[in-house]
């Protein structure tokens, strides 16, 4: 991990926040801004450019996913393409899909290990995916499987009759 990388941590639990800072530090990321809510995070983003963000799903008042979605859909935000990785205590399919649809780059399930954090972050930063813009989505290309063998009329479930 690049020693000069600057990270933003959005996590409301103080212990988990401290742990994430320590894990990043162990990875060599020393420049970390850790905040507990969305307004603080936005203020930090106004003041500084970040290389990545770790975002907790279940914040006290709001959802970390809303934060991600707002950043991604805000055309005026210079950091709307920032790699953002979700950190979550829950691993239900619905939560993970919601994170993907909000525009997160990746998803980490707690407990978070240094190895897992390192691999997910470096993938998001070093080989960033193409960004896709649609009327209701802006963010990393969500396609992960390239199943071109589908022979029906319309591959998208939504568009099938």
């Amino acid at each position: 991990m690049d020693e000069g990388a600057r990270g933003l941590v959005l996590e409301d639990n103080p212990f988990m926040r401290r742990l994430l800072i320590e894990l990043l530090r162990e990875m060599g990321v020393r420049d970390v801004a850790a905040v507990t809510n969305t307004p603080q995070a936005l203020r930090e983003m106004d003041a500084n450019m970040f290389d990545f963000a770790l975002v907790d799903v279940g914040l006290e008042q709001e959802s970390g996913l809303d934060f991600i979605r707002n950043i991604r859909l805000d055309r005026a935000n210079p950091q709307r393409r920032m790699p953002m990785v979700v950190v979550s205590g829950q691993s239900q399919k619905a939560v993970i899909e919601a994170a993907r649809d909000a525009g997160a780059n990746d998803f980490l399930i707690k407990p978070v290990s240094v190895a897992a954090l390192e691999s997910r972050l470096s993938r998001a930063i070093v080989s960033p995916p193409a960004f896709i813009e649609t009327p209701d989505y802006y963010g990393p290309d969500r396609r992960r499987t390239w199943n071109t063998r589908y022979e029906g009329l319309e591959r998208r479930r939504k568009l099938r009759l």
């Binding site: 212990f15 320590e22 239900q92 399919k93 997160a104 998803f107 978070v112 290990s113 691999s119």
Partner: protein, 589 residues
């Protein structure tokens, strides 16, 4: 101003009540023969009682109404050619009777809508019979004694006539009056209610016409079933209307001078009327008994339904509590495990330090498993497992489960053997079934790994595939076997042999929800679990799961509440499923 308009309102109400009661009294007296015919007051009394029960909330209003009753019956009696003294006494008897009936009913705090609060309450029957029998006794006694004192002979005869007539009024008009509720009338407006009402009236009309036209046959009993039908279908409203219609017809026929065989020809008119009244009274008691029984049944059903709803709500609350507690436990636990992982990486640790951190991590992992199993149990209990069954090969499943438990520290020395016939498969959810086998295996490893090999076997039993985990450990004493699949029951035998401890400390015994989760997961998939044990020879924990998909199975669409590996959605190297292994060590992602 408000008080003035209020008192005007009260005066208007009293005037209206007076008009109604007075007209009714006048008509009844005019219709009966003779000024001394004491049976005339009954419709007035019954109506006054209904007004008293339904309308008057305050004492003053009640007293007003009683005064109005006295005044109207007094004047009506005077107009009916009674001497003033007789008129006064009869009207006082009326008031005494109505007041007594009111007190009897009020004393029981009878509210027609409140039966469901007390399923034992057979209020309609008890109350009406009490009020209908006791109150006229008072009125009849007052009237008979007064009339006798004024020189009118035959106390018993006037007493009987008064009593029967008023009894009748109270048992017919009062139930009708207090039971006509919005709900009853609304029921008449429904198609079924209207049909029942029409059918009841037809039955009454047919039975009455048969009874009164078949002169040669005493068929009076035919009216009973018609009244019972009305009571059965339309409750108190139906019963009261049926009795009112058939009773009026009967009393009218009895009062005519032509001979009717139904009502014992030789009797004179008064006696025939009395007989008709007794007949109606008997029918009325039977009908009210039917109504009371049905109302009581409804009340019991309502109580059962509300208890069932309460139990379901309690279960939901428990499940929600379990879910919340599990999540709350995992939050700090995740931090502990994260730090343990960090510690192992940070500095070169001595072997002893590394062992301490490993133990810390192991204990935290144990708690993770517990929290996760509780979460799954809560999901299973509220039917939210989102199972995705498919035809899965048993052998592969067993190998996967063995691979899972191999990561347990205790599994190092365990000898695990798989013996499943090739081509044996079950219809089940792959992840959940693997979880079942993993939990059964880890239970065996914790309790019996030190005693010999642990075998996994499977065979077909009818429509089911039985998978067994067999060990040679201390097993379960018979009294423990029933509770083995309950949460938080130690499945290791805490016997002398295990206390002396080949496997170490007793606290190693599996106390948790692992086996209860096995039961929930199996039952959610149409399966069953069980255990048989001969200590140190063979202990078998088994699970039966369907061999094939049930025919025409309505498979619920899998919902998104199952735990999945993020890499299936975000891509990347597939990590082991989040909780497939019992002991996912930090560092493995």
């Amino acid at each position: 101003m408000a008080r003035l308009s209020q008192s005007w309102l009260n005066a208007a109400k009293a005037a209206r009540a007076f008009a109604i009661l007075f007209l009714l009294a006048l008509v009844s007296i005019a219709l009966t023969r003779g000024p001394l015919d004491v049976a005339a007051g009954w419709p007035v009394n019954a109506l006054a009682l209904v007004l008293l029960l339904r309308r008057s909330r305050r004492l003053a209003a009640r007293l007003d109404l009683l005064f109005v009753l006295w005044l109207s019956t007094f004047i009506a009696n005077l107009l009916g050619d009674s001497p003033p003294a007789v008129a006064a006494l009869l009207s006082i008897a009326n008031v005494a009777e109505v007041a007594a009936a009111f007190v009897l009913i009020r004393r029981l705090e009878y509210r027609p809508d409140a039966v469901d609060e007390n399923p034992d309450d057979i209020a309609p029957l008890r109350l009406l019979i009490q009020a209908g029998i006791i109150a006229p006794t008072i009125g009849a006694t007052v009237a008979a004694i007064s009339l006798n004192a004024l020189g009118h002979a035959d106390v018993l005869y006037s007493w009987m006539r008064w009593w029967l007539a008023d009894c009748l009024g109270m048992l017919i008009v009062t139930p009708l009056g207090i039971h006509v509720r919005g709900a009853d009338l609304a029921r008449l407006k429904t198609r079924a209610g209207a049909r029942d009402a029409a059918l009841s009236l037809i039955l009454i009309a047919v039975s009455c016409s048969v009874v009164f036209t078949r002169q040669a046959w005493p068929l009076l009993f035919l009216i009973g079933p018609a009244v019972a039908f009305a009571a059965f279908r339309l409750r108190a409203l139906g019963a009261a209307i049926a009795i009112a219609v058939s009773g009026s017809a009967l009393v009218f026929v009895a009062s005519q001078h032509f001979p009717t065989p139904v009502l014992a020809n030789p009797l004179n008119v008064s006696e025939r009327i009395m007989l008709a009244q007794i007949t109606v009274l008997a029918q009325s008691i039977v009908a009210l008994a039917i109504v009371a029984a049905l109302n009581r049944r409804d009340a019991v059903l309502r109580v059962l339904e509300s208890q069932r709803a309460q139990a379901a709500a309690d279960a939901r609350a428990k499940s929600q509590l379990l879910t919340n507690v599990s999540h709350e436990i995992r939050t700090p636990l995740n931090v502990i495990q994260g730090y343990a992982d960090l510690l192992l990486r940070m500095a070169p640790l001595s072997d002893r330090q590394r062992a301490v951190v490993d133990d810390m991590n192991g204990a935290a992992q144990q708690l993770q498993v517990l929290a996760h199993d509780l979460l799954d149990s809560a999901r299973a209990e509220r039917g939210a497992l989102a199972l995705k069954p498919s035809q899965i090969e048993v052998g592969a499943l067993m190998h996967a489960a063995v691979a899972d438990v191999r990561r347990m520290p205790e599994a190092n020395k365990a000898s695990l053997r798989i013996g499943a016939p090739a081509a044996l498969s079950v219809w089940a959810d792959p992840l959940r079934t693997r979880q079942i086998l993993t939990n059964l295996l880890s239970n065996a490893i914790k309790n019996a790994a030190a005693f010999g090999p642990i075998s996994l076997r499977a065979h077909r039993r009818g429509d089911m595939i039985r998978m067994e985990v067999i060990d040679t450990g201390p097993g379960l004493p018979p009294e423990m076997r029933g509770a083995a699949f309950e949460p938080f029951v130690a499945t290791g035998a805490v016997s002398e042999s295990s206390l002396s401890g080949i496997s170490g400390s007793v606290t190693d015994k599996s106390v948790g929800v692992g086996l209860s989760l096995v039961r929930l997961l199996a039952e959610a998939q149409g399966g069953a679990v069980g255990v048989s044990s001969t200590p140190h020879v063979e202990t078998r924990f088994w699970v039966d799961l369907p061999a094939e998909a049930p025919p025409a199975d309505e498979l619920a669409a899998p919902d998104a509440s199952n735990d999945v590996d993020p890499s299936t959605i975000f891509g990347g190297d597939p990590a082991p499923p989040p909780r497939a292994g019992l002991s996912r060590r930090p560092g493995e992602s």
